[in-house]
């Protein structure tokens, strides 16, 4: 089964990717990308609001379950990324690859087919690698290839083993692939270097859709194993804790951001391993909140970097009086990403913890430390980047285009932070419709007919 709404927007993105690539320069490529992203966002909003009554043949146009949020969230992210993307680091090929990565992400979420998922997973790694390879001076494409092609290899191996009915080894391969892709400790090394060197648009398009966590959720739904869940939860909590500790010692803003996102991603891993309805709902809400907040946080760093160059955070060396909107947006996005009260992240993390406390009380304590340190990390970054200098440099604040993109990202977080039921009600409604699609355990007859293997559980 394929969700047609995802595929429709994915095709739109591929057309947009080609359109951006055909542009004369990066300025035109960004304009074209914004038009494509805006159309996709409008289509996604219309599908989400009115789509439930529209049927195409026997397939519902609107995807079941939480994937409804995924399509809207990804189109929101794409619009913001192309609106914000600084031209210093984003060429026309980069815009094209951002669209391709987002199309592959939509393809990944659109299908219940394991082979299609393997293809989207692998292709996205190749696209990101091509972007890194085109910036040879940055010199991390080899490291990226080692980690991400290994992840794709393990994912493929897992799929092959799975199709031959060797479920336990397959799950081992999937676990390795997910850990590598998500940067779970101790495989986090590529993650920080990728953040440090790659254009921010590519980073967001590759990292934020979180293939790994959704694969983890599908895997856990497939194999209701307590041991597997405990292993994943422990890895998640350890990642959250270690990344938070490492984050406070960073001297460079991109690396600090990488550890912040890694730590919060560890929280997601932990939540998905909760195996209770409440934990999974909390993790999904957390993903939605993190996707919006971390994207805006990362984009504001990119914007500031375009104005100042490399952003060191070893001492206070900024002044927010010339760029008050960047500063305020930075603070708001940062605190939204760590689940500060009055943001959606607070409700999401509360639900997640409530859903996991009974199963993993001691691991939850590690998360408490991680949450506290991440909050400190955000304020430290803010102070180092926006205070401490007497005479402000002639920096330009964000313009209307970026203001709109920032408002689009932050407004849902703070509105639903004050009234969390606004976000919870549709999520619950969607969640109750149908669980996330899980890969089906192979039956002997399925091996004979590959099409039937791809059906919903």
């Amino acid at each position: 089964m394929v969700y047609l709404s995802h595929i429709f927007i994915a095709v739109l993105y591929l057309v947009g990717a080609n359109w951006a690539l055909c542009s004369a320069d990066a300025v035109i490529a960004r304009q074209r990308s914004m038009v494509t992203a805006l159309i996709a966002l409008m289509v996604a909003s219309m599908i989400t609001v009115f789509g439930s009554a529209v049927l195409l043949g026997e397939q519902p146009l609107l995807p079941a379950g939480p994937s409804r949020f995924i399509v809207l969230t990804l189109t929101l992210l794409t619009f913001s990324v192309v609106s914000f993307a600084p031209l210093q680091t984003h060429r026309r090929q980069t815009f094209s690859r951002i669209f391709t990565l987002m199309a592959l992400a939509l393809g990944f979420f659109a299908t219940t087919s394991l082979w299609a998922a393997v293809m989207c997973w692998s292709l996205s790694a190749v696209v990101a690698w091509l972007e890194l390879k085109s910036h040879k001076s940055r010199g991390i494409h080899r490291m990226f290839a080692w980690y991400q092609f290994s992840a794709a290899g393990f994912f493929l191996a897992g799929a092959l083993l799975f199709s031959f009915g060797a479920v336990s080894p397959a799950l081992g391969c999937f676990l390795l692939a997910i850990s590598l892709r998500s940067g779970v400790f101790p495989w986090q090394s590529w993650f920080t270097h990728f953040f440090e060197k790659a254009p921010m648009g590519i980073v967001i398009a590759y990292v934020i859709p979180q293939f790994g966590f959704f694969s983890e959720l599908m895997m856990l739904q497939q194999e209701n194993s307590r041991v597997l869940a405990v292993v994943i939860a422990s890895l998640g909590a350890l990642t959250a804790f270690v990344a938070a500790l490492l984050g406070i010692a960073q001297q460079e803003s991109r690396r600090a951001l990488a550890y912040l996102i890694l730590s919060q991603s560890g929280l997601l891993t932990f939540g998905f391993a909760g195996q209770t309805e409440l934990a999974v709902q909390g993790a999904l809400l957390c993903w939605f909140s993190l996707a919006l907040s971390c994207t805006s946080f990362a984009l504001l760093i990119a914007v500031l970097e375009a104005r100042r160059g490399r952003l060191l955070i070893n001492r206070a060396q900024g002044n927010f009086s010339h760029t008050p909107r960047i500063a305020m947006g930075f603070l708001l996005a940062g605190f939204a990403s760590v689940g500060f009260p009055l943001t959606l992240g607070f409700a999401a993390e509360d639900i997640l913890l409530q859903g996991t406390i009974s199963q993993y009380p001691w691991l939850s304590l590690m998360l408490a430390v991680a949450m506290a340190l991440n909050g400190f990390n955000v304020l430290r970054m803010f102070f180092m980047l926006f205070t401490g200098r007497k005479k402000p440099a002639d920096e330009v604040d964000i313009g209307l285009r970026e203001n709109i993109a920032l408002a689009v990202l932050l407004a849902p977080l703070f509105l639903s932070g004050l009234l969390p039921q606004l976000a919870l009600q549709p999520l619950l409604h969607a969640y109750n419709e149908k669980q996330l699609n899980a890969w089906q355990r192979p039956q002997p007859t399925m091996l004979d007919s590959p099409q039937s293997f791809f059906s919903l559980r």
Binding site: L246, P341, L342, A347, I357, A372, T387, L424
Partner: protein, 438 residues
Amino acid sequence: MFIKSLVLVGVVAPVICAVVLGVMLWRPRQQLREELFTRIVFASFALSIICYLIALIALPFATVHMGSQVTWFDLPHYHYSLAIAPDAMSLIVAIFSAILVSMIGAFSRRYLHRDPGYFRFYLFLSLFGAGVEIIILSSSLDFLFIGWEIVGFTSAMLIAFFYERPKPVEHGLRAFLTYRICDVGLLSALVILHHSEHGTLFVNNQTTTWLALSNTDASSLVIVAGFLLVWAAMGKSAQVPLSGWLPRAMEGPTPSSAIFYGAISIHLGAFLLLRLAPLIASDWRMQISVLLIGLLTALHGSLSGRVQSDIKSVLAYASITQVGVIWMEIALGFYTLAVIHMIGHAALRSLQILRSPSLLHDHQYLESAMGATIPRAARHIENCLPYSLRPWVYRHGLERGVLDAVLRFWFLAPVLAWARWFDRMDQRWARWLNRETN
């Protein structure tokens, strides 16, 4: 229902005020009017005060279900409640806090007139007021946590108010780090209390006349949670050994120092202890711990305060000393005395801090009125000490008990050293994989 609604309006009004001011700040500075900002803050806190006063008057005539709850968000197997506690003690402290915030607002109107940070100050003041009202009137630890976080954040932002100088920023960050490390205690206690099914709601207890955490079935796990909550309170109240941030926090504007470190914020830790009072009373280890922490803090504050050379540091250590004494009162079970002490100390100290910029003027005025030099007072401790001990005590005061150095070199430095070592290894690994030569 009537009282519950009134109190809820009182709590929500400052939150809405902060949101409105935050939205207004998004506009260009030229379009903002100082007068409007001040009026909005006044209006919201005046509304809160009126609501609490009516609730306080109506309290004896109405049957109020203590711990009244309003559902904030709702899931099939879980709901988060805005649990509020309109008991007499909470209402009195809430009214007092709202009045203090309003007075500081009135004072700052002239004190910060045409200051570039005027609007920022009022935004954080209203947010702080909202956080304080939530802490005071919440009847569950879950809800209290929201206010606790807001107060910590606004405190750090106001310490770093003069952001062009590196020192205020450094001190703001230091205070925030202390808060966050102590917040781990509150968060962990929440996890443990939920896990132990003891619950986080404050209830009517025989040992207190206000709502407090129940001591029934106080298992060892709940006692551990109690210790973690004491740890959380230590950070906010600047108790030994975490008191080093408070004198440095005086880098902020005088009105914010008065409201945070003279009046309200510094007492929130003691207020949390009052909410835990039955739990503390039920376990001698907790009682002794709180008593010792209070005693050591009072001694340390008193000794260090005597050798400070600037008035704000003297007042900061005086606050630390008094809060240490309040902790001792709570440990010994003198709860009513502790509440009276808190309110009295808050009123006096905030006045002293507000007057501190005119200290030299006041001093000269007094001396000219007296026609003589003002005699040195409060030397009784010095006089009681043997002569050989005096240099040691003096040195302790001068070094501020070397507490900052101990925390920095014994606890923070090893963590940072490990993180940096890990980072170096990570870089080497990346270089090897990328085949870089250096």
